[in-house]
């Protein structure tokens, strides 16, 4: 696919060059075509153009800034690049083509979102793998815990604060007892202030 695109570009390049008048557009479309191949997307205008251009500017790194995207940077370079992106979108280049156009002059460094090539896929799957691993560890720990508790049902009652062998006592004064229950409910989250599972 890519090779045919390059081939096509080579065939078309002289044609395109011949057709372009001494241009005053902010981007050399013939040059862009020689890099990215002929435009693959629909020509955009108005709000659709602005939206697409904004989207692309957000994933391009401003080369003269520190880690800012072309969309975020207030620098003159980024302003120029935004203008180029608009022209390219208007000419019908798609996101992939526009990114590879800038990549041809700035290198992969200019993409803020790593393309899927070489070891780059690692950075995309790592968080997912991490999640799976973490869930695995958690369920393993829980299974161990539940196996233990099912072996010794008495231990279930013994969890929590160490002094729990005595059932939770209450003062005799009913008003105070009620208050203690409330406070227990709030402090421990026991519904009604009664230890769950102590029926």
């Amino acid at each position: 696919m890519k090779r045919t695109a390059v081939l096509l570009a080579l065939l078309l390049a002289p044609l395109a060059a011949a057709q372009t008048p001494p241009d005053h557009t902010p981007v050399d479309l013939a040059h862009a075509e020689s890099i990215a191949g002929p435009p693959r997307a629909a020509r955009l205008a108005g709000a659709a153009l602005e939206a697409e251009a904004k989207h692309i500017a957000a994933v391009l790194r401003c080369p003269v800034c520190q880690g800012l995207s072309v969309g975020d940077s207030p620098s003159a370079m980024a302003t120029n690049m935004r203008q180029q992106i608009r022209e390219l979108v208007a000419a019908g280049f798609d996101e992939d083509q526009i990114l590879s156009y800038f990549e041809a002059s700035y290198g992969e460094f200019v993409r803020l979102q790593p393309p899927l090539r070489g070891v780059n896929w690692l950075v995309w799957i790592a968080p997912g793998l991490g999640l799976l691993l973490g869930l695995g560890v958690v369920s393993w720990v829980l299974r161990g815990a539940s196996a233990e508790t099912s072996e010794t049902p008495a231990a279930v009652a013994a969890t929590g604060p160490a002094v729990d062998v005595v059932p939770d006592p209450l003062p005799d004064d009913p008003a105070l007892a009620k208050a203690v229950l409330r406070v227990r409910e709030l402090a421990y989250g026991w519904p009604g202030g009664v230890r769950p599972g102590k029926d």
């Binding site: 001494p22 050399d28 040059h31 080369p63 003269v64 120029n80 180029q84 002059s105 700035y106 290198g107």
Partner: protein, 182 residues
């Protein structure tokens, strides 16, 4: 001794520390230009102060040195005498071009009047050529072989010895090409 903890701990931390060690001498500001060894992006730009546009394609067969610079950039001012002295040393086989990067035309004109100019400096409207050449800052200088390929890029102020080396490299490329063809 909990072996599992030991192995897991090292498995997590060692690669990280190792990675930092490997990267220690790294200069994050040096990005290899993908243009090296490729055809130089074409341009046709108007010189400062007026005149016929300079077109890269018309310089095929000559070694071309393209220097991106600005008057507000201190290292550019430092290297200016080196560059203005160079053309007469190399003769007509080597063409020097300046491309002005994000600067006002009057500033450049008065600078050149004061410090002298030995070759045209070109106006890069909208940063078109700067972007095509992947400029990260100024000064940056490209060396283009007679066959139109970019041979090397230098970031920072040039010294005469560096300049000689790069120009010779670009010229040598033309020689090897010619001998290949034979």
């Amino acid at each position: 001794m909990n072996r599992k903890v030991f192995v897991a701990g090292l498995a997590v931390t060692l690669p990280l520390v190792g990675l930092m060690l490997v990267s220690l001498g790294r200069d994050p500001h040096k990005v290899e230009s993908p243009l090296l060894g490729r055809k130089a992006p074409p341009f046709s730009l108007r010189p400062i102060g007026g005149g016929e546009p300079v077109t890269l394609a018309s310089l095929r067969g000559k070694t071309v040195v393209v220097n991106f610079w600005a008057t507000w950039c201190v290292p550019c001012v430092d290297e200016h005498p080196v560059l203005t002295a160079a053309p007469q040393r190399y003769g007509s086989d080597v063409v020097f071009l300046g491309v002005v990067y994000e600067d006002e035309e009057p500033n450049v004109q008065s600078f050149l009047r004061e410090h002298g100019a030995a070759y045209p400096s070109l106006v890069d409207e909208g940063g078109k050529v700067s972007i095509a050449y992947g400029i990260y800052g100024v000064p940056e200088t490209y060396f283009i072989a007679p066959d139109g390929t970019i041979v090397s890029k230098y970031v920072g102020p040039l010294r005469p010895d560096l300049l000689d080396g790069f120009v010779q490299e670009a010229q040598a490329r033309a020689v090897t090409r010619r001998s290949d063809a034979r």
